[in-house]
């Protein structure tokens, strides 16, 4: 009986164990044995359905977590992160030390921590977890810093360390507990470093916190603790860091007066209740570009339809910033207003906070016609801020000693920001970045802090940086985490690589690209088979072999989405080692490729299609011009030339077939700058010329894309990544039809084919350029082509190419969509494995959205870059006088196209400083009668071109009319007649 009783007792004890903590040796776990303490963590959690659930989790404490310091001899660590010599000099801490920031310091002062000066920082697990919880972008930045070897950031897993773990005490809030955990870890460090014998330099740890209570408690327990501001200010030799400090809440009070300017924002709970009950609306805030007192909010209604709500006046705008997600309340209908057509810019000196608003807003109060009134509302709360660092310039305050200045962002939709800086005199004339910290209700402007300087305004480097930032193009150098996934050099093809590949090295493959191209992603071959048919191969760089799904490199590429080409600069999507070397199909080296091989007869009919991963060895990489010369040179008869001729012949047939099916050939003027080889300034402008070989390569790329699209759609009808080009709505063609009619030419827009055919026959005698102009106009009528996931859409048609299905397969080095298509195709032919995200149509669809956004932004950035270089070009040229054509007629202006430069500009007829001439606009024509002269679309005019740099942030090309001469409107022909070079008009 006693034995049984004893046993029961033991069981009872055993069952109780996890409530108490004790030591157990777990030798079975792995080879190393160590002491582990077990704690049980219990907490309650609210479930989604509203219930309360008790969650019990185990929590193991270990003693094999090392301190990571080079100076420590006690810890049996294999590698150390923190340096022995911390080379940071501070007047507060004259001894070598490590920093331990608390969560709020990381969250608010991440800009400071990112500075290369700040090194040897201990990031506690508590801090890391809290940051992860509070802000995803900051968490990512912190992680990147930890990965950066140069920064010497060490993550200390304090929550699982036997000596630093603490339990939450009754009545203690989670935040207080975390603060205590941070202090505990700091204390452990200071004792640990003190006891380690090989520490003669007296290494110490310094806790950084902005919380007064936390600081006091830390001081009581004998820790070295400083406020972040104090510490940064004490840094010797790095005074500029001070400006990067974000304003903490207790500093803000000093700046602003006590007068309340704005109504209080409602708390989130009230907003949610309001939205549910329908009294508030949620939408995205879009500030007006032209009027700082006006904005619209796009309210997403049921399904697809969105409504626009107008917001007018500072009070109603209530501190919302462009792109914020806001909650708004509609005003009663009798207070609705119409959008004002005035251009208002917030200019001049900083307005006093208590300036009469009435005065500012007076201009808006123009009684509008009843019909023009729109739903009007006021902002009651902000649901989500979408602040990012903004580029712009500083307006230096008039008071010389002042440290508070206003900052004007380059984007006109962003309000001016008040920042505090001591280096205003150096920053004046520079492009800088500023982040918003907050917008208190008693401040006219948001408060922010200086992030970094981009360089002097107007300089090429600086402006490039600005336009990249403003178009949200990710262009930082690739992080260490990303680079770690690159193949190790020297790289060679291994037998494992060859397993699922065809060896096509013996084929005469060659590539044709624009001059100076280093990321060659396509190569071609053509040869005659024994049965008389032709074998044509398109070989695409096998990027998906190097970029494996899900790793940091893949994620970075997916985020970048596309390589961005600016004038004289390329922002790569993948690191250069891949884009210009391992993936680039250069001549005379073995490269991995994804091949699409057709067997065709001499009428270019496809008899057989084969997709395979392969190894190729390109025999030659040529430019379009070189390839053209080889084809034309009848004396040459080598394999490459024969191959090219074969390709060219087939391409012509393919093109003809395509056009017969109704593919459009549209036109847009693309210009190419001739750069000075030393200064990299543009010295000449030239419109891009197209040769036969251009269209040869293009034809085969189209064919490959269509073949691949069909294949992946057949295999994966739910998750194929395709590209569509929707047919434009008929109203889009109005401008084209009107324009054509004015020259008595009929254009049919019923179908793509009808449009293509009628464009082909549209000619006007004595006006050779007319057809090109029409095509330019037609291009403007088109919709954007977009990527989409086949499972989420039913309309696949590509209007421009007249193809029922299309995708992008041929440029994986510079487009991420192609990488996905490669992966899909590889799975389809069994050459590679699949992974869950690839087959998930919702994830694919989200990816498509990002890719579409990045492509659009890349295009805008590209255009902005061309515009900037055009400005540089005209800056060096002075005033030019050129011939152009009227492209559009507007109410108060004409838009003129200069074919020679591919440049488009606006000639305004209502200058601000002069009295406007009489203008009569006829919408039907459309024509504009200025005084006695009437302008029609396609009229030939002469204009002067000059650079208007009165506003250094927004330089623009100014055009003025010289011919026809209209008294009071046109300007005299400039004296310096430019070097006349006959523009090549018709091609």
């Amino acid at each position: 009986v006693t034995a049984v009783q004893q046993r029961l007792l033991e069981i009872r004890n055993l069952m109780k164990t996890s409530r108490t903590s004790r030591y157990v040796t777990l030798s079975n776990i792995s080879e190393v044995s160590f002491v582990i303490m077990l704690k049980s963590k219990t907490f309650v959690k609210k479930t989604r359905s509203g219930g309360v659930m008790k969650i019990v989790r185990e929590h193991y404490l270990r003693d094999d977590i090392w301190c990571g310091s080079e100076a420590c001899t006690e810890c049996k660590q294999e590698s150390t992160v923190l340096q022995k010599d911390t080379c940071i000099e501070s007047s507060l801490c004259s001894y070598p030390h490590y920093l331990i920031p608390d969560t709020n310091v990381v969250l608010h002062q991440i800009d400071v921590l990112e500075d290369p000066v700040i090194r040897n920082v201990i990031v506690l697990q508590t801090v890391l977890q809290e940051v992860r919880h509070r802000s995803a972008p900051i968490y990512k930045r912190l992680k990147d810093m930890i990965h950066e070897k140069e920064k010497h950031f060490y993550t200390f897993t304090n929550e699982h360390h036997r000596d630093t773990f603490i339990e939450r005490e009754p009545g203690e809030s989670a935040n207080d507990r975390n603060d205590r955990a941070i202090r505990m870890a700091a204390k452990w460090y200071s004792q640990h470093l003190k006891t380690s014998e090989s520490n003669p330099d007296g290494l110490k740890v310094v806790l950084l916190t902005n919380d007064q209570g936390n600081k006091q408690k830390a001081e009581e327990s004998g820790l070295l603790v400083h406020k972040c501001e104090e510490y940064i200010k004490s840094l010797i030799a790095n005074p500029e860091l001070v400006d990067r400090l974000a304003l903490s809440s207790d500093d803000k009070n000093e700046i602003t007066s006590n007068k309340v300017l704005f109504p209080e924002h409602l708390p989130l709970s009230k907003i949610q209740a309001g939205i549910k009950s329908g009294s508030f609306l949620q939408g995205t805030f879009r500030a007006s570009r032209d009027n700082y007192l006006e904005a619209t909010v796009f309210v997403q209604g049921e399904g697809e339809d969105t409504t626009e709500v107008l917001i007018q006046g500072l009070q109603n705008l209530n501190r919302a910033v462009h792109q914020d997600v806001v909650a708004l309340q509609l005003l009663p209908q009798n207070q609705w207003v119409a959008p004002s057509s005035v251009v208002l810019q917030d200019e001049g000196a900083a307005k006093d906070d208590n300036v009469e608003e009435e005065e500012e807003e007076k201009v808006l109060r123009i009684s509008a016609a009843e019909a023009a009134r729109k739903p009007t509302g006021k902002i009651v709360g902000i649901i989500k801020r979408n602040w990012r660092p903004f580029c712009g310039m500083l307006n230096v305050s008039q008071i010389k000693e002042s440290t508070r200045h206003l900052f004007t962002p380059a984007d006109r939709r962003i309000p001016r920001i008040r920042i505090e800086t001591r280096q205003a005199s150096t920053l004046a004339g520079q492009r800088i970045m500023v982040a918003i910290d907050g917008w208190p209700k008693d401040s006219r402007y948001p408060n922010g802090h200086f992030v970094r300087s981009l360089g002097s305004a107007g300089e090429k480097e600086t402006e490039q940086e600005v336009l990249l930032l403003e178009h949200d193009v990710p262009h930082q150098a690739f992080s260490q985490a990303v680079l770690s996934f690159l193949p190790k050099m020297p790289w060679a093809i291994t037998p494992e690589d060859m397993v699922k590949r065809q060896d096509l090295r013996q084929l005469t493959v060659c590539s044709v690209d624009p001059p100076g191209c280093t990321d060659i992603d396509d190569a071609l071959h053509c040869r005659e088979l024994e049965n008389g048919n032709l074998e044509v191969g398109v070989h695409i760089a096998d990027v998906s072999h190097f970029i494996r799904p899900g790793n940091a490199l893949d994620k970075e590429a997916a985020n970048r989405g596309t390589t961005v080409y600016l004038c004289g600069k390329r922002i790569d999507m993948v690191p250069e080692l891949l884009s210009s070397n391992l993936c680039s199909l250069r001549s005379n080296v073995d490269r991995l490729a994804f091949s699409c091989i057709w067997e065709m007869n001499h009428e270019a009919e496809i008899l057989k299609t084969q997709f395979t991963k392969s190894v190729i060895n390109s025999k030659s990489s040529m430019t379009y011009a070189e390839a053209q010369m080889r084809i034309d040179d009848t004396t040459k008869n080598d394999d490459i030339t024969k191959s090219l001729r074969g390709l060219n012949k087939l391409a012509k047939i393919l093109k003809r077939q395509r056009i017969q099916k109704g593919a459009l050939t549209l036109s847009s003027l693309e210009v190419r700058f001739h750069m000075d080889s030393e200064t990299h300034d543009p010295i000449d402008l030239q419109t891009k010329e197209l040769m036969e070989t251009n269209s040869m390569v293009e034809e085969f790329m189209l064919l490959a894309n269509i073949s691949v699209a069909q294949k992946i759609y057949d295999e994966f009808s739910e998750c194929a990544l395709l590209r569509k080009h929707p047919a434009p709505p008929p109203s889009n063609y109005d401008i084209l039809l009107k324009a054509a009619k004015s020259k008595e030419v009929e254009i049919h827009t019923d179908s793509a084919k009808a449009l293509a055919d009628s464009l082909d026959v549209a000619r006007v005698d004595g006006f050779p350029y007319f057809n090109t102009l029409l095509r330019i106009l037609a291009t403007r009528c088109m919709m954007q082509a977009v990527y989409f996931c086949s499972g989420m859409d039913s309309d696949f048609h590509h209007y421009g190419l007249a193809s029922p299905i299309y995708t992008h397969f041929t440029s994986p080095i510079r487009r991420y969509a192609d990488i996905i298509v490669h992966r899909l195709l590889a799975v389809a032919i069994g050459a590679d494995g699949t992974y869950p995200d690839l087959m998930d149509k919702h994830k694919q669809s989200a990816l498509c959205n990002n890719l579409n956004y990045r492509h659009k932004m890349a295009q805008y950035a590209q255009r902005a870059s061309v515009a900037f270089h055009t400005q540089l070009f005209f800056k060096s040229r002075g005033i030019l006088n050129e011939e152009g054509f009227v492209l559009f007629v507007r109410k108060n202006a004409i838009i003129v196209l200069i074919p020679k430069f591919g440049l488009e500009g606006t000639v305004f007829f209502d200058p601000k400083d002069k009295t406007a001439p009489s203008l009569v606009f006829d919408e039907e024509g459309p024509t504009l009668k200025v005084e006695e002269h009437t302008f029609h679309i396609f009229d030939k005019v002469k204009v002067t071109i000059s650079l208007d740099d009165s506003n250094i942030q927004h330089q623009k090309i100014r055009m003025a009319l010289t011919d026809p001469v209209i008294p009071g409107v046109s300007v005299p022909v400039p004296d310096t007649e430019p070097q006349t070079k006959k523009p090549r008009l018709d091609r």
Partner: protein, 245 residues
């Protein structure tokens, strides 16, 4: 906002273990006197009680009897208080039935049933507290109970679940990890011969990773077998001391 980070950059899991480390395993054999064999086992916060009756004559319909070996009858149940929210139906639901079947298959592979033709062995397992890896804890507890009942087995049957996160196999998943969208695999192993008694996986996993995952599961199972072996030896010692008195 963001889900749980199952494996930190420093290589620690949610509860502080490293990827290949098991939870603390504690066990007792012979906890009930009336049954032929019984055992109690905890693996972290998952706790199970296993009871074995038999081998005895077939109860109920005689037609179930097999002429060349014993029938193994398993019943799996979960205590109503074993989960965070009170469980309505302790046994007999689809999940429990499936689990019973799996246990039966596992033990048919391990118990030397041919020694007891026309008889029956009952294994009852109850989860008292559930925190992930229910199947493997049941198998481990039942193994001890079968040994306690003195029924010959080919080897210990040791089971362990393994999950796959960030290209790393995680041994012995807890509930938070299991529910965090990890593709997991349960393996029951006869460790000495390295034979697999049962392998179960119902999530998606790329086949390239399967090999490493099974490898990790086997190592984990061998770790479990060491603990079980120790428990059995200690029990024997205690019993022999008692009988010696």
């Amino acid at each position: 906002m963001a889900g749980l980070e199952l494996l930190s950059d420093q290589g620690y899991r949610l509860d502080g273990r490293k990827a290949s480390e098991l939870r603390k395993v504690q066990a007792r054999m012979g906890v009930f006197a009336q049954a032929d064999g019984s055992a109690y086992l905890e693996q972290g916060n998952t706790k199970a009680l296993a009871v074995v009756y038999g081998p005895h004559e077939i109860r109920g319909s005689r037609s179930r009897a097999l002429h060349d070996r014993a029938v193994i009858n398993c019943q799996y149940s979960m205590a109503t208080f074993s989960t965070a929210e009170r469980k309505r139906r302790p046994h007999g639901d689809r999940k429990s039935t499936e689990m019973s079947l799996h246990l039966k298959q596992t033990f048919e592979a391990a118990v030397m049933t041919q020694l007891y033709p026309r008889s029956q062995i009952d294994i009852y397992v109850k989860i008292l507290q559930s925190d992930g890896g229910n199947y493997s804890v049941c198998v481990n507890a039942a193994t001890l109970a079968v040994i306690d009942a003195g029924i010959p087995m080919r080897d210990y049957v040791c089971a362990c679940t393994v999950g796959f996160v960030d290209e790393t196999p995680l041994a012995d998943l807890c509930y938070a990890e299991e529910s965090g969208g990890v593709s997991s695999l349960a393996l029951a192993l006869l460790p000495r011969g390295g034979q697999i008694a049962l392998l179960q996986m119902d999530a998606r996993l790329h086949q390239d990773h399967l090999e490493t995952l099974i490898e990790a599961a086997m190592t984990a199972c061998k770790g479990v077998s060491k603990v079980l072996d120790e428990v059995v030896r200690q029990h024997l010692q205690e019993v022999s001391v008692l009988t010696g008195e």
